[in-house]
Subunit: 334 residues, 4 copies
């Protein structure tokens, strides 16, 4: 049994805590939150201990790993401390909003050959994973074109928008990682963005709609489109194309019911909304992968470098948006 | 060039007349209708002659074939006269409402080895035809189960309902023919019916909704369902099932557009409504098949015997509905 | 917390035991099987007690309810004993293969106003349930036609076929219950069957393919089709039709991936196979409904009478198959 | 009746000639081709005159309009001559490969207020047209994102590749026009391209795969993806997205048949291949629109300026591909 602690008892932290509490190979040792009440409530729900301090967790030999689901600005410090305490880490994305800080974090901890997995949950969605396995298995030949569609149901609250680092670092970062998951390392980034959903987002200097083109080192082209608002639900789709054909992974609805009436035929439900519903199985599979890797002493994937690489693409996209130029990505010095 | 005349200038007659007028291998020689004005108008539209009498058509050596689209009660007399005049015949379904009259018509004309094709247009629908070819080509093995769904957009006018011979002979007859097209000769019929759409139909002693099971001589089971009213359009579907899998042929919509909104996702248009739109290609392919067979001196299909066989199933369904018993069909003495 | 015991540790019993062990409102007190080893293994998996005898369970005041997942021939005796011991019961379908025995069981226990729920799991499938709620909510008006498609991936083992009571009592019974769930009480049954899948089934005097028509008291017509073998997976679909349109609930695939190649486009995965995968959520929701009803002292649904009613339809279908006649169902003396 | 002549009797010219010959409001007066035999054969098929020279057509007062389907390098001269002869013109895309020549052509003829329609056939596809009408009708609010997918079944012959002007001017030009049709005038272009399909295309200095982003003056973002090869058929799809939802127009298959087997479920046919099959209805509707506009003295659409605007986008895409920069489009001086 792997002893785990959860840091951060917000929505996503609680989700992970519940999954860990039910995991056959895990003993959830403690939960922690800066706000003691949040930790206490989550602990009560699950019948586990609310740690009084981080030091308590670092010092606990029964905690082999931590899941970091705190706010982004704390990730680097928590990853560093956890690694120094000898814990394996599963950290929610992104590593940090600042590429330099993320890179220097790695320089600091790399010597310890730490186990740090990044929470790019979409890699573990059964449909996306099956699509990728079939792609990499050669079913449609070498990848030539990929289209990644990702549209949130609605913008996050204003408070979050202000600190989230902008569309590319907060939302598109998932799609940058997905592009790398499908197409491998990226060589160049072109980004166009717009403020079409909510003027309040523009007032923050941010965008809410974007269209991005990536060129992979393999030669494949990847198109990403994002919107902060989708009235029909959380729109998450992939399409990959090659010499042998095309694979598409679509949205899931709550039921299979289709309705035909005088107005239309074969109408489906709105799609699953939001990430907790859409990626229920992905979050579980992500934990399974982390736990299995730690237990077996195998490398985790996606790892810290994947987190940095996705952040690098987000930064490049910001530069492309600002300059109108294609931004080349240096070859990864991995 | 095959010289053709069209008898009956109602909706379906005019459709055929227009198709014949444009057919590369046909010269439309004349149109005829009991109501001279109807014939005159149709003739004017197409720039052809309106025949003043049937005799004029029987006597015209430039007319090699006739298309009979008059009211059902005239079919037997017109087929007989046309055959006696040496014309090839393409006659709209059904042969007659009375099985005995249909059979005696055949006895009268059979000696002439006439060319009489029945207008079961659905056999020529590209999707239904492709499904049948794949079925008979062995793609799913021997047929075990078939489901035929056929629902009209709305009931015909009261005047027509009174003379149409009832649901089975007027509407289900297409499905009886489709069952034979897919499964071959039928051995037994079970029918259940109900008056659910319009009490006026019940007042005529007729039904507007039915569920029928056929057992084919091959052993396959066929289910038919009918309704006289479908608000989402003219619902025409096939499903066939065997040891190797399933083939389904669905409805067609006017466009491929799918709409996603807060209310639903992937909503299609209502389906094509009504038979003239739904079976546009089928009507053309039916004429092609007739013309090609006559030109080549090959037998037509579906032929008079197919028309009688479908009518026999309609009569048997009526008997089953009345008695609650399975009605066995004698082996066809063909 | 509701104390529960599971009787029968075969495939379906173990499934229920696992679900009960994880249920937030349940304490799984014990498991039992005629074969002590089966019980011991299941108990070990779940960290619960393997009961040495049924008496131990009847006598245990911490057991408030039992889930009966033993072979069908033991259901009546176990239901009776459980009710006499004051336990609530959730029993797998069917009540019994013999309608008389099922009815006399009820006469024996009815006085105790027992809580006996029947395990018609499909009623709890989220898609089927949503379809029914939308139907009963009036979305398409009064039900006129329903089509229930139910095809197993492959026939059960020969040993099971010999004791299962035949297609109607073993397999179609789910569809009879579904017909009642959608259309209410049934007034008449017509059945046609065939032995098309495996001659060994015919050699047992059984059929493996059927087409059934039901007439509901409401006037609605219901068509059921079954096969014991479906190469593309466990085929479970519903279609309901009324004056306002149509609702359909289709199959589910393991992923949403669709493949396009030179051979075909938009090809989906085979459908989920078999009931444990297809009805994962249904089995959980079924337990939820049972537990909630028992906790609240509310009536369970589907109840013993529903089990008897479905069995009555299976018996009637057998009679219709044998006689070729429509079999009328007496009004339920409930 | 509008008197028409067809210039160019290649594949697309013959298609138009056949459609014009059957058009109720058109008299096809003549066909012409540089190769007299091609003209003679087409004329014989349709029972019309093969013009011996262009002068014969310009001089013929019974020819009110010409359809230009010759090779691209002749378009400007033929448009100019036709306009000077007082004919209405429907010219296949593109106007010319050289933007300057196209613009100076217009300066030369503009004074005559000529009727020149450009053959962007996709605007007349029933599904694309319906999608656009629903978009512009407000069904999903203001356009925010559009995705245009366009993939040819296979590359054109080497001889054509050498003279076609490159991917953007030959193939993507349809998508540039579609972008304008959906989103209005375009403000900026970003293009990425690759040679992934056939090295022979790269050897010509051309690309066969591209990913393009357009920013419309309205603020909407448009993504285009192209490939010169698609094994599942001619892939032509649109997706538009706004505050109220999404509309998608997909591919069409030859039949509605879906196949389920041990390998997959619901597999459709390959999609219609190639443009003559895919856009059969579009070509007819395009002629209808041209004829109706000329008869009514109304402006045609798309017009010469639309042809120039699409070419301008193709040129801009080439510049963006070469420089890696976003290319701004000057406001149209219309």
């Amino acid at each position: 049994m792997l002893g785990m602690a959860v840091l951060g008892c917000g929505r996503i932290g609680r989700l992970h805590a519940h999954n860990l509490a039910r995991h056959a190979h895990v003993r959830l040792a403690a939960v922690y939150d800066l706000a003691p009440q949040a930790a206490a409530q989550c602990a009560a729900e699950l019948g586990v201990r609310a740690a009084g301090s981080l030091e308590e967790i670092w010092a606990d030999p029964a905690v082999h790993g931590v899941l970091i689901a705190t706010s982004t600005d704390t990730h680097v410090a928590l990853i560093t401390a956890a690694v120094q305490a000898g814990k394996a880490v599963l950290c929610e994305k992104p590593v940090d909003l600042d590429l330099g800080r993320a890179q220097s974090c790695w320089r600091e901890i790399a010597g310890a050959h730490p186990t740090v997995m990044l929470g790019f949950n979409r890699r573990f969605d059964p449909s996306f994973r099956a699509l990728r396995e079939r792609l990499h298995g050669g079913e449609i030949g070498r990848l030539e074109l990929a289209i990644i569609t990702s549209r949130d149901p609605q913008p996050p609250p204003a408070g979050y928008l202000r600190i989230c680092g902008g569309l590319f670092r907060d939302m598109t970062i998932h799609d940058f990682d997905m592009a790398r998951y499908l197409a491998g390392d990226i060589a160049a980034v072109q980004a166009v963005g717009a403020n079409l959903v909510d003027p309040a987002i523009g007032a923050l200097g941010d965008i809410d709609t974007c269209a991005i083109t990536l060129r992979a080192r393999s030669g494949a082209l990847v198109q990403i489109n994002n919107s902060r608002r989708s009235v029909y639900g959380y729109d998450q789709r992939l399409e990959v194309f090659g010499a042998g054909g095309m694979l598409q992974a679509g949205n899931r609805c709550a039921t299979t019911v289709e309705a035909s009436s005088a107005a239309h035929t074969a109408a489906r439900d709105p799609v699953l909304d939001f990430f907790i519903e859409r990626y229920t199985e992905a979050y579980r599979a992500e934990l399974d992968a982390f736990v299995a890797a730690v237990e077996a002493g195998r490398p985790v994937s996606p790892d810290f470098a994947d987190g940095v690489a996705a952040l690098e693409l987000a930064v490049a996209a910001g530069e492309s948006l600002a300059t109108g130029r294609t931004v080349e990505i240096g070859a990864a010095p991995r």
